[in-house]
Amino acid sequence: MPNSDYPALGDIGAIQTAFEAAGYICTTRIATVVKLAAALEKPVLIEGPPGVGKTELAKTCAEVVNRPLVRLQCYEGLDESKALYEWKYGKQLLYTQLLKEQLGDILDGAKGLTESMNRLHQFGDVFYSEAFLEPRPLLKAMESDTGSVLLIDEIDKADFEFESLLLEVLSDFQVSIPELGTINAQSKPLVFLTSNDTRDLSDALKRRCLHLHIPFPSVELEARIVASRVPDLSQSLTDQLVHFVHAIRSLDLKKAPAISETIDWAKSLILLHANELEGNLVLDTLNVLLKYEEDIKIAESQLPKLMATITA
């Protein structure tokens, strides 16, 4: 029973091909989870070290299903007025000022306070209607009538309360606005949440999600990724480069280089017209790969050993 909303995500093999065409090499595990997410209408919680392509997965997915990507970047202090909706206070204020004159007409001939109040009540909550509602990412994703891909990035950075706020959105795809009632998703969005694991997420949130852990890729996979992203790089250099990066990851570093850094490095090697990896070239470009001075020092001291791994 594949979800008819996203027919492109019905078959695992097809998902892999489509993603690869969009420049994202995904393992069967990733493809399986994407298929399940579409079929079971469940959000996917993606965890893994920074730079392994968590955010990229959601972006590619939006491209593959050809739906708009709605992105919500989380940070400490993010609240419903920035994530869900906000009332357009300025507009409300402006309208009250403009309509002041109308007030005289409406209340014309009313005797006493009670009658005036009764007349005003007839107009209901004009200022709390959809015209004054400013949709924020979550509400926007719900309102899209063709479906969308909702990316909630770095959910672990948001406060704990925000997670609770998400629960309604993630399990029922609806948003409750006290003044208006409940707004249901026209067409259920595909939801991706990413987390860098800086803190534990609540069980309630985890329970509502499919869980996907993306680790650093294997040598073969990373070589394929580099080849697809940087096609100009020669096959042999790609192999050398990927083996070297894998050797570096095995060192005790503050921050191990991620896929995105491998790709950056590959690109810089092209700019430098390198034909093969050799000591000096590596020394000069190590700062593309490693982002801390200490890490670079460690790698420099281990350079002969690291170089040995690529020739082996």
Binding site: T32, L36, L40, E47, D159
Partner: protein, 476 residues
């Protein structure tokens, strides 16, 4: 003869198998809620049972909720489906479905070589036609495993809870299999037909072997999990000083789990109280821009300082084990208690925080023991502490002293202790000795008691967890 091995529908068999797997996962400390179960079944139906990796990935996505659960899940999946079958989960799950037929075929189509000893006088002839005997004699694997599975279901072998119940369950299963006929035959042949007797005995032995395997597997799957829980529970009640080396790994896991629970609970509470009352002044100031209408209410912030803990631990022989666990526990709580400082003493006292921040807990503890072990002198230790850190003790500091207060008749320097009490938010003395022993012999506990906010007996994990829980929930 009616076929006793009724095939069940593949649908119910597979979800039954999945349910049993969930049970197995729970035993492995992967929490699986009923809702997760439903999701998992739905995912499995969607992906099918034929492709092992596919099924594993799909189930992992619905059941394993974090990376360490994922690791546990993967090994559990491999274990379970290795145990349940040597081939693939599809076979394990659809056993009945696939192999129900061969029972009858096995009876009708006896292998060629078995036909050779078939003379009219063969005493075994009387047994032929007995489904069990035929299956054994012709080595019909599928028929046998179906028979054994059916018997296992009949005697509810999954209810086994103790290792010593094995024999009992083997007996029950043999009865359910109808092994009686073979036994009777063996008794009959014992005197008259030695060759036939040998043959039957060999088959019986074979059968018993298989049944025993089946029961042991059931024990591994269903009861070992319960046993684990039981062990954990008893371990958390055991006196920490009595825990031997072999149980350290389990204990460490247990401490980490307890600490995770505490960290999750208290990490949350702190945030909840952050917003304070309405800040009237600020709100009015803000509302100037909106014509005096307070659209943007401002709130006072409640500063909630994380408790700073200073742990002062006696690491002399008798108390060292307890100090080790206290420190292990506190350092497992790094997320919630990032500013913890620790001091160790027996005679002299020194700060050991750095050791704990740089080394794995166990190594650090060994180093501490090496450096500060010796005969206890509380007076000197408190004196050293005053010189070292008393100036930094303030109303946010919680001091925890762990020791038996046995001071070898020397002056315990209660004056320093009372000064520490006055400066700190809280002074807690944890004593691993039971309350009855306080004040006996050279124990200064009764005098010390007056100079502390809280004194507690603390010698097992449960007590320790409770004390730290109170410490964290305290919001003065």
């Amino acid at each position: 003869m009616s076929n006793p091995y009724r095939p069940t529908t593949p649908q119910s068999t597979s979800s039954d198998q999945l349910l049993a797997f969930m049970q197995f996962l729970r035993g492995k400390n992967i929490p699986v809620s009923p809702a997760d179960t439903l999701d998992a079944i739905e995912a499995a139906e969607l992906l099918g049972y034929m492709d092992r990796t596919l099924l594993k990935n799909g189930l992992a996505a619905t059941l394993a909720k974090s990376s360490h659960e994922l690791i546990a899940f993967e090994s559990a999946f491999d274990d379970y489906f290795k145990i349940a079958s040597n081939t693939s989960p599809a076979d394990a799950i659809a056993t009945d479905d696939q192999s129900a037929k061969p029972v009858n075929e096995g009876i009708s189509a006896l292998p060629e070589e078995m036909a050779a000893p078939h003379d009219v006088n063969d005493p075994l002839e009387g047994l032929r036609g007995n489904a069990l005997f035929d299956a054994l004699e012709s080595r019909d694997e599928s028929a046998l495993s179906v028979a054994i599975e059916t018997a296992a279901a009949d005697v509810r072998v999954e209810e086994i809870s103790l290792f010593t119940q094995r024999g009992q369950y083997v007996r029950k299963m043999l009865d359910a299999l109808g092994e009686e006929a073979l036994r009777a035959a063996a008794i009959e042949f014992e005197q008259s037909e030695p060759a036939a007797f040998e043959a039957v005995q060999a088959l019986r032995e074979q059968l018993r072997e298989r049944v025993r395997d089946r029961v042991e597997r059931a024990y591994l799957i269903h009861a070992s999990a319960q046993t684990e829980d039981l062990l954990d529970e008893s371990l958390s009640k055991l006196k920490l000083g009595n825990i031997d080396h072999s149980q350290m790994a389990r204990l460490k896991r247990l401490i980490e789990r307890m600490a995770r629970k505490l960290a999750a609970r208290h990490g949350r509470k702190r945030r909840r109280y952050r917003r304070g009352k309405l800040h009237v002044g600020e709100t009015v100031r803000k509302s100037v821009a909106t014509d005096g209408i307070p659209f943007h209410p401002r709130w006072r912030k409640i500063e909630r300082k994380r408790p700073q803990i200073m742990a002062i631990c006696d690491v002399s022989g008798s108390v060292a084990a307890y100090a080790k666990f206290l420190l292990m526990f506190i350092y497992a709580l790094q997320d919630v208690l990032p500013r913890t400082r620790s001091f160790a003493f027996s005679a002299a006292l020194g700060e050991v925080s750095d050791l704990f921040n740089t080394l794995p807990v166990e190594e650090a503890i060994e180093k501490v023991n090496l450096k500060y072990g010796g005969a206890t002198d509380y007076g000197r230790a408190l004196d050293d502490f005053s010189a070292l850190a008393l100036a930094e003790v303030n109303h946010a500091t919680t001091l925890i002293i762990l020791g038996d207060a046995r001071n070898n008749q020397a002056d315990p320097r209660l004056d320093l202790l009372s000064e520490m009490k006055a400066r700190a938010k809280q002074l807690i003395w944890l004593n691993p000795e039971s309350t009855r022993l306080w004040g006996t012999g050279d124990s200064e506990m009764l005098r010390v008691r007056r100079h502390c906010h809280v004194v507690k007996e603390c010698n097992n994990l449960n007590q320790l967890a409770r004390i730290i829980d109170q410490l964290l929930s305290d919001r003065r």
